[in-house]
Symmetry: C2
Subunit: 395 residues, 2 copies
Amino acid sequence: MAETADARWANRSSLLAVLLAGGQHSRAGLTQQTGLSAATVSRVVEGLLDEGLVREGAVLQTGRRGRQGVVIEVAAERGIAVGVDLGGTTCRFLATDLLGHAPRYREEPTPRHLAADDLADWLAERVRALYADSAAPDVLRAGVIGLPGAVAADGLGVRGATNLPQIEGDLFTRRVRRALEGTVAFGNDADLALEGELRHGAARTAETAVMFTVGAGFGAGVAVDRHIRGGPTGLVGEFGFLPVDSDDHTVEELVGAEGLMRAARDAGIEVVTAADLFVDSSPAARAVIDRFERALGVALIAVTIAYEPELVVLGGRVSASIDAAMTTRLCERVRRRLPACPELVHSELADLAGALGAVSRGLTALRVRFDVAPDAAAAVRADLELSALLAPAAH
Amino acid sequence: MAETADARWANRSSLLAVLLAGGQHSRAGLTQQTGLSAATVSRVVEGLLDEGLVREGAVLQTGRRGRQGVVIEVAAERGIAVGVDLGGTTCRFLATDLLGHAPRYREEPTPRHLAADDLADWLAERVRALYADSAAPDVLRAGVIGLPGAVAADGLGVRGATNLPQIEGDLFTRRVRRALEGTVAFGNDADLALEGELRHGAARTAETAVMFTVGAGFGAGVAVDRHIRGGPTGLVGEFGFLPVDSDDHTVEELVGAEGLMRAARDAGIEVVTAADLFVDSSPAARAVIDRFERALGVALIAVTIAYEPELVVLGGRVSASIDAAMTTRLCERVRRRLPACPELVHSELADLAGALGAVSRGLTALRVRFDVAPDAAAAVRADLELSALLAPAAH
DNA sequence: TAATTTTCTCTCACTCTGAAATATTTTCAC
DNA sequence: GTGAAAATATTTCAGAGTGAGAGAAAATTA
């Protein structure tokens, strides 16, 4: 806070944060929202108009008497955020403008046979295709790409991507970054799924939340005070590694679909998918599910002790098989040991959580590039236009 | 950041933060430290002199040629921070001035037979006695009191104080607050011990650290990005509740001194203290210690997954029995499951960690009361005068 | 059509900062 | 000893920026 010039920057930042959250604002409305004086709002808006970052739109029809305000609207086409959820089987692409509007969504099978270089080029190609027609000259782009592995704090090193081994290390990530213009960042897919739920889904009001992703394996994302934590090497949240029994089983082995299928085979149960196990009433199947439940209970106890979250969101393929009766039993299990139990809810965004979280993070990066203070940029609660996506016919 | 007057406040805040960290500073030195211009430093110092919060001291003997700077010293007597560590058996009191100097330390057996009211009065009495002779008229006081139980986010509700049941609820805390002038805050003793190690002990350079307190029971404090986390009800860090075996044992039962003694009795081993078990080479004793080690390993795995701390500090009575060989084995145990293991070190402050952490937190509160920005106030790294305390003859 | 109300801009007094000039005090070199 | 050089502290001044309030513009109401 040395120079007085900082004041101008701070005022611009908070005003822009209000505008980027969406909604219709006249200068007078912005005066109220920001708490700045009318004179300052006028001056700052004038600057933004000169920058071409906002423009005057229609007059605001309030019905009240007096002069009508002019809507100040963001030149949303000045920024494009792209979120990618690169899964082991499916790759999802979502792009929006600076306001989170005009969404474009694609999904394709992941070409998992491709080597790192080719996979990176393939991905960059699809991303570019997604905004090929937006030919504005001074548009800023931010891409965030979710990967099925731990991403180190430097944002490039990938580890533990057993599902897609060619992205390990930093070859893949570096190549993607080179192949795309604009800022490109990478994140863990479970973390980004939580980011999505945190901003637009089940956890939108939670301060501290955990998301369990129960798919082939078991992963968890952790949000403390609405900030996702990954840790220096991305290990934070890998509760799949937690031991459950003295006989050296881990949560992942007992909860993930692969572990469930193996347990079923070992017990001589014939099932096609893990979901079948949950509706199988044979004693052998029940035993497997009991162990599933106990292991999930241990993970739940661990995260409750570790973070005391208001909410644990259940996502991933297998989570659909967790019914209300089981969540109730899980909660009882926790309460037997602890004075409190977080609320257990299912993901609201399902398969789209990761791509949405990635876009949200990309939007935050864009706001920062437009000189919004990082804290304010992260706190903006923009309403993405999701209705078209979340409707059954997603594509 | 609306008014330009905020700039002055911010500059005062950062300058005061430098002064409160201790050391000898002339105006010229402050110019360098703060990055402000010489003119601004002169002006802000003039204001602080008018407030009586600083005074001019001796001239700074640098030996270099040129005019000598005048030392600006904080009127340290304007604030008193008191830290109390109310344990089940011993109660420790530590008071310092605004700079963390002139420490006064007392310890007494906790009168655990007293009811909540009387215990509160007893405590307030000792606290007042500690600064009875500092009769400055405009002195600010901040007291922080560590309790052997979980403290809720509201700062008053106490839960799980099995060691000192009369402090449960908010009767005790409210009475203490009423009985003492100045701001009074409460905290969990394990959290405050970690605060002490974080600021003045083994974790002084760690960003993220965990402290295991292995005493009669088992507790843990958690610091993420140098901020202690307690959770809404103070549950965060209670890894003693974590299940270890399928036969429903918890970490606390296997690791705490009480649990160890019970296990020893059950196994027919005759020992006087838990420490004896660690030097007993009989197979039965070894089995108990093996289970201790395995349970501690589970807790270590859990915190590594949960926070990926650089450091885990071992404190509490029993931790002295954990030798280098065991910490090595524990680390190997973690590495068998996880790609990384935090460093395991012993507490540096031992019994004083809690009182020191409490004083540190009190100092932070004082700085805020003197209008230092909260973030800056927490980031000040003051050097307490500890040499006299940490020397063998503590009292 | 005039009065009222609301939006937006313009002017002005005020605060605060940093750069530069100045005064002061010290050491160093001869 | 004395002047030069150097470091500290203060003073002055221009510049940047804000908010209050006046004023202009545009709408509704009577």
